[in-house]
């Protein structure tokens, strides 16, 4: 026999004895039952037995109830956890879908009410990444509206400026740039809220193919049947150090472009404007001080269909605005003018926009995009005149 352990002994002791009582034993015992047995049983014992059985039943019920409660709580916990997990999974779409949803939510409202406030700057830090994904297949760029046909619309738009601008800009000229700056530097409670802003003048993008001339930062990434173009420059509207403008263009149909910002490099960001359809987007990004001091620091990953096709670094964003492509400059000026026209950003003052737009129009006269730049100058001038009255 191997070593005796308490467990083994308990097992041995628990083994049933297969021996059956011999036949006749039961009869012998029964035969010896006294006739007066009933009278020997104390009444107190009977009461005690019944009481014990009642207690036993009650204990058993209590035990059953406890087991049921335990099982129910376990089921509830597990089910609740599963449901919560499903809800979280459903309600927390990937960042790209989050931005896409915001775009879909905000776009109609903005289209209907141009007076809507400018998008609040957002922090880039808390979520691991923030993405912007075009919600719809890109639409062909709309041609610029003929000046005669758009005169009425222009007047209406300029009327908006006349009504709104004095309220917004009458305060203090020095403060014009501040809200934008302050907005970027002040804590933004709606940390990851993506609020796109439509670029009002479709002409901006029609001739804004841009490219990457003159050493202006930017580049292209091609994957199969689509291509991606990026361009960035220091913001000319927001004097805060490390504030940059970034334009991203998806050049191919069905290109799902996701911009995944690096929280360590981006303190805040906002979507300044987007082409309808969202294929072209203009972001304003405020770099963190360490990133601003490190040209090689990564700012964002650009993804197409989930695949990282390009890494944006600080050096891609901090080039001089004057050296950026005409298309980039026209897009940023148009966005700034749109904000000024709507009174959404006092920082984007008309004088500054007009100055830069005239310079651009002069540079691009007779070239692609020149007409749009001239049209922008005309509109800004009209708005400025209305304000002077």
């Amino acid at each position: 026999m191997s070593a005796w352990t308490p467990r083994k002994i308990a097992r041995e002791l628990s083994e049933r004895d297969a021996a059956e009582p011999p036949a006749g034993l039961l009869g012998r015992i029964k035969n010896e039952i006294p006739a007066d047995l009933g009278s020997r049983l104390p009444a107190a014992a009977l009461r005690e037995v019944r009481a014990a059985e009642v207690v036993s039943l009650a204990e058993r019920r209590r035990l059953r109830r406890q087991v049921r409660l335990l099982a129910a709580s376990l089921i509830l916990t597990v089910t609740g956890g599963l449901i919560a997990g499903l809800v979280v999974m459903r309600q927390t779409p990937p960042p790209a879908a989050m931005v896409e949803r915001e775009l879909a939510k905000e776009a109609p409202a903005r289209a209907g009410s141009p007076e809507t406030a400018a998008p609040a700057p957002r922090r880039a830090a808390p979520p691991a990444s923030l993405r912007a994904v075009p919600a719809e297949p890109p639409a062909a760029p709309a041609p610029p509206p003929p000046p005669a046909a758009s005169q009425e619309a222009d007047l209406k738009s300029l009327g908006d400026v006349r009504d709104e601008a004095p309220k917004k800009e009458a305060a203090d000229e020095d403060k014009e740039m501040r809200p934008r700056v302050a907005g970027l530097s002040a804590p933004a409670p709606e940390a990851a809220r993506a609020v796109p802003m439509e670029i009002q003048a479709p002409a901006v993008e029609s001739g804004a193919g841009g490219g990457v001339p003159g050493g202006v930062v930017g580049g292209e990434a091609a994957r199969g049947d689509f291509a991606l173009r990026t361009e960035g420059a220091a913001s000319v509207f927001t004097p805060a150090p490390g504030t940059c403008l970034l334009r991203i263009q998806a050049l191919a149909e069905d290109a799902e472009v996701a911009v995944e910002l690096v929280p360590a490099a981006v303190a805040r960001w906002r979507l300044v404007g987007s082409e309808s359809g969202g294929r072209t987007r203009l972001y304003e990004v405020q770099l963190t001080p360490p990133a601003a001091a490190n040209p090689s620091a990564k700012v964002a990953d650009l993804r197409l269909h989930g695949e990282t096709v390009r890494e944006l670094r600080v050096s891609d964003l901090v080039g001089a605005w004057d050296g950026a492509s005409p298309g980039f400059r026209l897009a940023t000026l148009t966005a700034a003018w749109d904000e000024a026209r709507r009174g959404a950003s006092p920082a984007a003052n008309l004088e500054r926009i007009l100055q830069l737009a005239r310079k651009l129009a002069h540079e691009t006269a007779g070239q692609p995009g020149g007409a749009e730049a001239a049209e922008l100058v005309r509109r800004v001038e009209a708005a400025a005149k209305l304000r002077e009255r």
Binding site: A10, S14, R16, E32, L41, E48, V49, A52, S56
Partner: protein, 193 residues
């Protein structure tokens, strides 16, 4: 056996025993017979495990009921009737041990068990020897622990019932059980050496 080491046996009390006792108190003889039918197998099994002999166990079982009927007025209902009966059977066996003329040498009993040289006899012998060692070790335990082991494993009584019978808590019973098993292990190990 419905329990194992450290486990809680299933309590099969269904209120039937109380009803039978009530009927018995009312003079119903069939209730007494029914009580016997419900309990005599357990009593026999317990005594047989104690003494290791079926014929002797049958005699002791019969004697157990005789004593139970005689002392029924002492049944206080604190424990179940079957538990009370188990205690009587155990005492009956101990009384039997105190009568030398009825004592059957364990070696003789073992010889009778293993005399058949049929295939598998070695295993039978081994098991019988081991079982007999265990039985002797149980019987060598201190009284308090011996009854506990007997009632729990061979009488198949629940820990709670034994605790009620002995007037102690179930925790105390479990502690005693642990101690008993340790003593048994030590005794058996020493015997093996």
């Amino acid at each position: 056996m419905t329990h194992w080491w450290g486990g809680e046996p299933v309590d099969r009390s269904d209120g039937e025993e109380g009803r039978l006792l009530a009927a018995l108190a009312g003079g119903d003889r069939e209730a007494a017979e029914r009580l016997v039918e419900r309990t005599y197998r357990g009593v026999f099994a317990l005594v047989r495990r104690l003494c290791g002999d079926s014929d002797l166990a049958a005699d002791l079982t019969q004697e157990t009921y005789r004593k139970a009927w005689d002392s029924l007025s002492g049944f206080d209902g604190r424990a179940k009737f079957s538990t009370w009966l188990c205690r009587i059977a155990y005492n009956t066996f101990l009384n039997h041990l105190r009568r030398p003329r009825r004592l059957v040498p364990l070696e003789d009993s073992l010889q009778a068990t293993v005399a058949d040289p049929a295939p598998g006899a070695d295993e039978t012998v081994g098991r019988a020897v081991a079982g007999d060692r265990l039985r002797r070790a149980v019987l060598a335990l201190p009284e308090e622990l011996r009854f506990l082991v007997t009632a729990l494993f061979w009488g198949e009584l629940p820990v709670r019932e034994i605790a009620r019978q002995e007037g102690v808590t179930t925790v105390a019973i479990r502690k005693r059980l642990k101690k008993a098993l340790q003593l048994l292990a030590r005794a058996l190990e020493e015997e093996t050496r």
